[in-house]
């Protein structure tokens, strides 16, 4: 166990360096493939051992043995590993393995460089989820970002990837500076960088403006990574241009890591000082999450570029994740954890299906692809099932997670959350089902006022048109979709998540374990998971049927009576207005980040008792 903690993030980095160094000697493609897959499988296994080892208490590892003395101050840099962080590391490892397997046949001209970048990205994500040090969180955030920028702009010879990577790079670098400012301020106040130490120093003090400013800057910085409205604009451009194996990492785990960091920093550092304002913080974050979920769902429904459609659906889901963690209860966090796992499997499978379409037909435009998907019935079935899963249909993990989040919201008196999650699930699921019917069945019609803008076509990632479906491409998609369902069916997963969430949110217990202050308070008592009722199942089935209905209405929109259509015209204008905000210009996106941060700052000023 003592070896697994440092090895899990460093192993992929070492292999990445070796692969990069060996590139000048010409590494055969299959050697690079095999080595990279073996590395990511090993990292996943190491992370799993950390996950199992940390279920009864956090694993603390101090680099160089710089452990704090009893009742001393933590100066050393350390990992503090809890099941939530380790679980995210396992998720990252699993998804990287899937994308490496998928790219076995994906781009033929890929060099070892691609594997190097993916392994660096993996190492950074694992370290990001395990670290217990606030400054290291920033360093790994940047390492993850640099890897992600280059991966997003991998096909740099085209205009789109250049623009997508630059927008991604500029917005996320501004975010990194906001985070660093927040860290600098909190270090000035506490003189500590270890998160447990910061929390311990701050606990019990009344909140003041400096602490609030630090929390604001760190939260808004991570909002950019998590694609929260209005910090989200990079997400569509980046997903539209990134190679498909990279998209599944961005949507499946990277944006979720942004939210994980917010939850971790809140619970480890700020919960002791901001607890008097917990109600206000909860309301603010839940409102931001709801806006994100709804805006993402509407934007998703208005897309016909399938990768952008899926990117906006991720944005909608990240809004629901934000709602789940900002309920500030173990049940909400547990629901989010289950939802993240289910979503990662389903969304990754959907991206892989879109990647297969791109490889076969050279485009991911819903209208251009109309009916052409009939040649690929298996892909169509997977894609349609994925659409139902995004609509939170049972038995998928998305259904279970969404249900637990709604229950948790009910318990803190926010029963309206159920309406937000239902509306966004119906719209997002409806969008995917609509494109599934258009592409794989062929009904529907061409461009009209519904799709207000057209995008340039994109080059296939591999120009040759394939006649058959390589097993390396379809197998990961099937496995991922099945795993999305397994997450929802696995007995005991939700109650384990609840136990992990209770530990994650118990600041004094974690601080005592990390700082080794001797007297361990008892391990947080695990509350009981509420059982699923039959009415919850009806809720999930109703949501899936609603999504189907919305999809059918959208496909047969020409047959809607004129009077209803003209009544809906202002709605279309509003959606069009929302879409023009997505200007494609990094300067505009940074402006929106500033506007969003200013709005949150105003809310803090009036909401918190400073």
């Amino acid at each position: 166990m003592t070896l697994a903690a440092p090895l899990a993030p460093t192993l992929p980095l070492i292999v990445a360096a070796a692969l990069a160094g060996a590139r000048s000697f010409g590494v055969p493609r299959r050697v690079a493939d095999t080595l990279a897959i073996a590395t990511s499988v090993t990292t996943t296994a190491l992370s799993s051992s950390l996950l199992i080892g940390s279920t009864h208490g956090p694993i603390v590892y101090w680099f160089g043995g710089w452990r704090p003395l009893p009742h001393g101050i933590a100066i050393g840099v350390g990992f503090s590993i809890d099941p939530v962080g380790a679980g995210l590391a396992v998720l990252a490892g699993t998804l990287v393995t899937c994308s490496l397997v998928y790219s076995w046949h994906y781009f033929e001209d890929v060099e070892a460089l691609f594997h190097t970048l993916l392994l660096v990205f993996l190492g950074a994500m694992v370290a990001f989820s395990l670290t217990g040090d606030l400054f290291d969180l920033f360093v790994f955030f940047e390492l993850m970002s640099v890897g992600a920028f280059v991966l997003a702009g991998y096909r740099v010879e085209e205009r789109g990837p250049l623009q997508g990577a630059l927008n991604f790079g500029v917005t996320n670098t501004v975010a990194a500076f906001m985070i660093l400012w927040g860290i600098g301020l909190i270090y000035g106040r506490t003189g500590a960088l270890n998160m447990a130490q910061i929390g311990q120093t701050l606990a019990g003090r009344p909140p003041d403006a400096l602490v609030a400013a630090s929390f604001l800057l760190i939260t808004c910085g991570f909002f950019v990574k998590a694609a929260i409205f209005p910090f989200h604009f990079w997400i569509a451009d980046t997903h539209a241009v990134a190679p498909t194996p990279v998209c599944i990492l961005f949507s499946g785990v990277m944006i979720e890591l942004g939210l994980y960091a917010i939850a971790r920093v809140y619970w480890m550092c700020f919960s002791g000082v901001l607890h008097v304002d917990a109600g206000e913080v909860r309301l603010m974050l839940v409102v931001i999450g709801s806006i994100t979920a709804l805006v993402g769902a509407v934007m998703c429904f208005a897309q016909h570029h399938l990768k952008r459609l899926l990117a906006f659906s991720s944005m909608s889901h990240t809004g629901i994740f934000l709602i789940g963690i900002s309920l500030l209860s173990p049940l909400g966090l547990a629901g989010t954890a289950v939802y993240v796992l289910g979503h990662a499997g389903v969304k990754a499978a959907l991206f892989l299906c879109v990647g297969i379409l791109l490889n076969h037909f050279g485009t991911v435009d819903e209208v251009r692809l109309q009916g052409r998907g009939r040649r690929l019935p298996l892909v169509g079935i997977l894609y349609g099932t994925g659409g139902l899963a995004l609509a939170a249909a049972p038995p998928f993990g998305t259904f279970l997670g969404g249900d637990v989040i709604s229950t948790a919201a009910d318990r803190v008196g926010y029963s309206w959350i159920a309406v937000v999650t239902l509306a966004s699930a119906i719209l997002v699921g409806g969008a995917v089902l609509r494109s599934a019917v258009v592409v794989f069945v062929g009904t529907g019609r061409g461009f009209d006022a519904f799709y207000s803008t057209r995008l340039g076509d994109e080059e296939p990632e591999e120009p040759e048109v394939r006649r058959r479906l390589p097993v390396f491409m379809i197998a990961p998609a099937i496995l991922l979709l099945v795993s999305g369902a397994v997450v929802g069916l696995l007995p005991g997963l939700a109650s384990h998540a609840l136990q992990a969430a209770a530990m994650f949110e118990d600041r004094s217990y974690l601080a005592a374990s990390v700082l080794a202050t001797g007297a361990h308070p008892p391990s947080p008592s695990s509350p009981a998971m509420p059982a699923l009722a039959l009415s919850d199942l009806y809720h999930g089935v109703g949501s899936a049927l609603g999504a189907l209905l919305v999809a059918l209405v959208a496909i047969h929109r020409a047959r809607i009576p004129r009077i209803i259509r003209s009544a809906a015209a202002p709605l279309l204008t509003a959606v069009h207005g929302l879409r023009t905000l997505q200007s494609g210009d990094a300067s505009d996106y940074v402006t929106w980040i500033m506007v969003g941060a200013a709005c949150v700052a105003i809310a803090f000023t009036f909401g918190l008792h400073l």
Binding site: I75, F135, V139, E142, L143, S145, V146, F149, V150, G153, V156, E157, R159, G160, L162, Q163, G164, A165, L166, G169, V170, T173, V174, A176, F177, L180, W181, G184, L185, Y187, G188, L193, A236, D237, A240, V241, Q303, S452, T453, L455, G456, R579, T580, Q582, S583, G584, D585, A586, S587, V590, T591, M594
Partner: protein, 114 residues
């Protein structure tokens, strides 16, 4: 304790962000990000500075001599290294944009919108 370093840090932050927002040239935009980055150096060094204190090297001086905070200096150094990487990547993308499309104007490099 002086407020001057913090005032300078905030000034650099605001000026840099204004530059990023108003930029019409990719290189200019990346350099403005560099200005924003300098504000973080200013902040960190300001946090750790103590008047009348020496460098945190206890080679020839008694152990109780006041010294500036070495942690923020280590943070600054790390920040320089990390951000150098980020800037290098962003500048490489700019160079690529100029090489392929003969332009550094973000307006002319925008196939994606909506």
């Amino acid at each position: 304790m002086s407020y001057l370093p913090y005032a300078v840090a905030i000034w650099l932050l605001v000026v840099g962000l204004y530059g990023v927002i108003s930029s019409r040239n990719l290189i200019h935009m990346v350099v403005c990000l560099g200005v924003v980055q300098s504000s973080t150096y200013m902040l960190l060094l300001g946090v750790g500075y103590r008047f009348g204190a020496g460098a945190p090297i206890y080679y020839d001086v008694p152990l109780r001599t006041p010294a500036v905070d070495p942690v923020v200096q280590a943070l600054c150094l790390t920040d320089v290294v990390v951000e150098a990487t980020v800037m290098a990547v962003l500048l490489a993308l700019c160079v690529q944009a100029h090489k392929r499309f003969g332009s550094l104007d973000p307006e002319r490099l925008r196939p994606l919108k909506g």
